[in-house]
């Protein structure tokens, strides 16, 4: 195989698109962990629900954009209910409890989806506007991959504006650092937690909706994604949004280039990367320092 500049550029672009989905997922996980100290093992399940939400809307109305919006809203609402009725009663108890709860929730929902939708992948067709690639000589960028990258950038800008410029965003940031103090100021912190959880899983739902056109919607599609997402977050440093972004970019490029050079190592490579980074920085790249 001849490795030339065009091939390297193509790999970088595909790595960026891969990383973009990891970033969406990891940002959601980070918001939940940073705010609630809950390790959400059901994050991949919300990703899967996002894919199915998109599938349902696209099947009914044929509108992909509506499908994506529906994925965020519906998954966010499911997150709202889940946090309010399942996770909230466990606050203040051993951190293992919410971890076990989200794990159990994940298993139950996957089985439920399997019973409802079966085990055959559900197709979400690519919108015609995104079919094909942009081509410059030997360099090609599939239009949809470019869309994923741009969408992720837009979401990150919106998140930044939300956390830095809005009252609610600033309250959330304050609550991640000292929720008692925020509560003492008369703010309804439990409601802030519920909102944070919904926002986090809503991002996972969006990632699922985005990926539903690349992979078919399947009940167990989130299992592997949960693991990869945790690797991204651990690399970046638990609770750090900047870390989640950097972690996503690193994992995307590692998967892309290891796939090119030694494909059978692509799954293991991200774990090796994580071990190496943890050996050098035990809290991950941005651990603690860069919390929300």
């Amino acid at each position: 195989m001849e490795i030339n500049t065009s091939l390297i550029i193509n790999q970088i672009i595909f790595g960026l698109a891969l990383g973009a989905v990891y970033i969406l997922m990891a940002c959601g996980l980070t918001i939940i962990f940073g705010l609630l100290d809950v390790v959400n093992f059901a994050h991949g399940t919300f990703y899967m629900l996002g894919a199915f939400a998109t599938y349902i809307i696209v099947s009914l109305f044929g509108n992909f954009w509506l499908g994506l919006a529906f994925a965020i809203i519906v998954v966010g609402l499911i997150g709202w209910i889940t946090e309010s009725y399942l996770v909230k009663p466990l606050y203040g108890k051993d951190p293992l409890y919410p971890l076990m709860l989200t794990f159990g929730f994940s298993v139950a929902v996957i089985d439920l989806m399997r019973a409802i939708f079966g085990t055959v992948g559900k197709i979400v067709p690519l919108p015609p506007i995104f079919s094909g690639s942009l081509i410059w000589g030997e360099i090609f960028i599939p239009k949809y991959r470019l869309f994923i990258i741009l969408l992720t950038i837009a979401i990150l800008i919106l998140l930044w504006l939300f956390f830095k410029k809005t009252n609610l965003g600033m309250i959330i940031r304050a609550a991640t650092r000292d929720s008692l103090m925020v509560r003492a100021l008369g703010i309804d912190v439990p409601r802030i937690w519920t909102f944070g959880f919904s926002l986090g899983v809503g991002l996972a739902g969006l990632a699922g909706g985005v990926n539903s056109t690349i992979q078919s919607a399947l009940p167990d599609m989130g299992v592997e994604m949960t693991i990869e997402c945790f690797v991204v977050v651990v690399i970046g440093g638990l609770g750090s949004l900047g870390g989640a972004i950097l972690g996503g970019l690193i994992v995307g490029q590692v998967v892309s280039f290891v796939s090119l050079l030694a494909s059978d190592w692509s799954n293991v490579a991200i774990f090796i990367t994580m071990f190496v980074i943890l050996l050098v920085r035990t809290r991950g790249l941005f651990g603690e320092a860069g919390r929300l």
């Binding site: 091939l7 672009i13 690639s133 059978d264």
Partner: protein, 408 residues
């Protein structure tokens, strides 16, 4: 207390009634991957198997009794399959087991069956008849993986081009298919341009797309199965590669994949199948199978449905012929060279290595025109004589076992 006991008994009876569990003693135990990446295919296999049991029972059952077979989910894990088979064999006393849908799991179960002296009918593509795996207790109602490799490679090098690249699922089935393609490539003047190993269960191939596009082979062999195959085809389509001159050959394709890939699975795609419903035009008995299957399940049978049907029916009819459901030696003796005429005309289980002697169909995609029961166009049927090695070769695992696989 009496009331409590009565309610408990009633609940227990209701549970049995609704779960389909029978109190009669089962004569065989089958497992399928009803969860995991091959679950859609596993479900087809189970459907085929259930239909075969119905047909056998309609014809008088086994030894004058209604055949009872216990079925379950192997979760696509060899350890789970072996644990469950052990429970069924030790706890229920069955001496015949069947099913599973993975070359790797089939080999592991076969080894266990040999040690425990039970008959094992593998419904999938598996290498049980090859080399050291050939222990005498295993039979295959699918085929040996290399056969679909040989069939599709022969068709491809003759009709589609010479340069080829392959994406290989990194386990036994994928390795066997890859070896077959390398052997046939050398024989027919193919030009091998590279292999990409894919871990089992992989569903994102985007990082491989640039390399495939840069290599630009005449033929890309999609040697992955289940959800991985669906995802790879969608991602090739999304990158715009399926509408160019590149041809895509899938040694073992599936109707679900054609459905899942939609318009991407166009006339550039050629897939190997051991069964396709239009065979009913060629084999009259296939018509009965297709009609009964469609009536019961509302869809046409796939090759996995056929594998489940043939394996189950042959095993139960062999028990009838042998006059026993528990004497393993007698059942094996009957199955050796067992002749049948079910779905593809007269076939048999070859006596020397226990493989079902059956053909491979090459189905060309039709893209967006695929709908209902119409999934593609049969462009060739490669007879078993062109794909199956001799008993001696299979025993010694040649020529495919001697191939040095790239990167291994």
């Amino acid at each position: 207390m009496k009331k409590f006991c009565l309610i408990s008994i009633l609940l227990l009876m209701a549970t049995f009634a609704t779960s389909g569990i029978s109190l009669a003693k089962p004569i065989a135990a089958f497992l399928f991957p009803l969860s995991g990446p091959f679950s859609a295919m596993g479900t087809d296999m189970k459907k085929g198997s259930e239909l075969a049991i119905e047909d056998v029972n309609a014809a008088g059952g086994v030894l004058g009794k209604k055949a009872e077979v216990v079925m379950g989910d192997d979760e696509f894990k060899a350890a789970v399959a072996i644990r469950k088979f052990k429970e069924m064999v030790d706890g229920m006393g069955v001496r015949a087991i069947g099913g599973t849908l993975s070359g790797g799991i089939a080999v592991a179960v076969n080894e266990w069956a040999c040690k425990n002296k039970v008959v094992y009918m593998s419904f999938c593509h598996s290498s049980i008849p090859i080399g050291k795996e050939q222990c005498g207790y295993g039979f295959v109602s699918g085929m040996i993986p290399y056969q679909t490799g040989v069939a599709t490679a022969k068709y491809a090098f003759k009709n589609l081009g010479k340069s080829w690249m392959i994406v290989t699922q990194d386990y036994r089935f994928g390795h066997d298919e890859l070896a077959a393609w390398m052997v046939i490539s050398e024989r027919m003047g193919g030009k091998f341009l590279g292999n990409i190993y894919s871990p089992l269960g992989q569903t994102d191939y985007s990082a491989h797309i640039p390399r495939i596009a840069a290599t630009n082979p005449d033929i890309l062999v999609i040697n992955v199965y289940g959800q991985s195959m669906d995802a790879l085809i969608k991602q090739l389509g999304e990158a715009g590669l399926t509408n160019k001159k590149m041809k895509f050959v899938i040694p073992k394709s599936h109707l679900y994949t054609i459905k899942a890939a939609g318009a991407y699975y166009n006339e550039n795609f050629f897939g190997g199948h051991t069964f396709y419903w239009t065979l009913q035009e060629k084999y009259p008995k296939a018509k009965k199978f297709v009609e009964a299957y469609e009536k019961k399940y509302g869809e046409v049978p796939s090759q996995d449905s056929d594998g489940g049907y043939v394996g189950t029916r042959a095993l139960l009819e062999a028990m009838n012929k042998a006059g026993t459901t528990t004497d393993v030696d007698k059942i094996i003796k009957t199955l050796k060279g067992f002749k049948m005429d079910y779905n593809k005309g007269p076939e048999e289980f070859r006596a020397c290595d226990h493989i079902r002697m059956t053909s491979v169909i090459i189905l060309q995609g039709i893209g967006a025109k695929a709908s209902g029961r119409n999934f593609g166009k049969v462009v060739a049927e490669i007879p078993v004589e062109e794909t199956l090695e001799s008993c001696e070769n299979n025993k010694n695992d040649i020529p495919f076992g001697k191939v040095k696989l790239p990167g291994k």
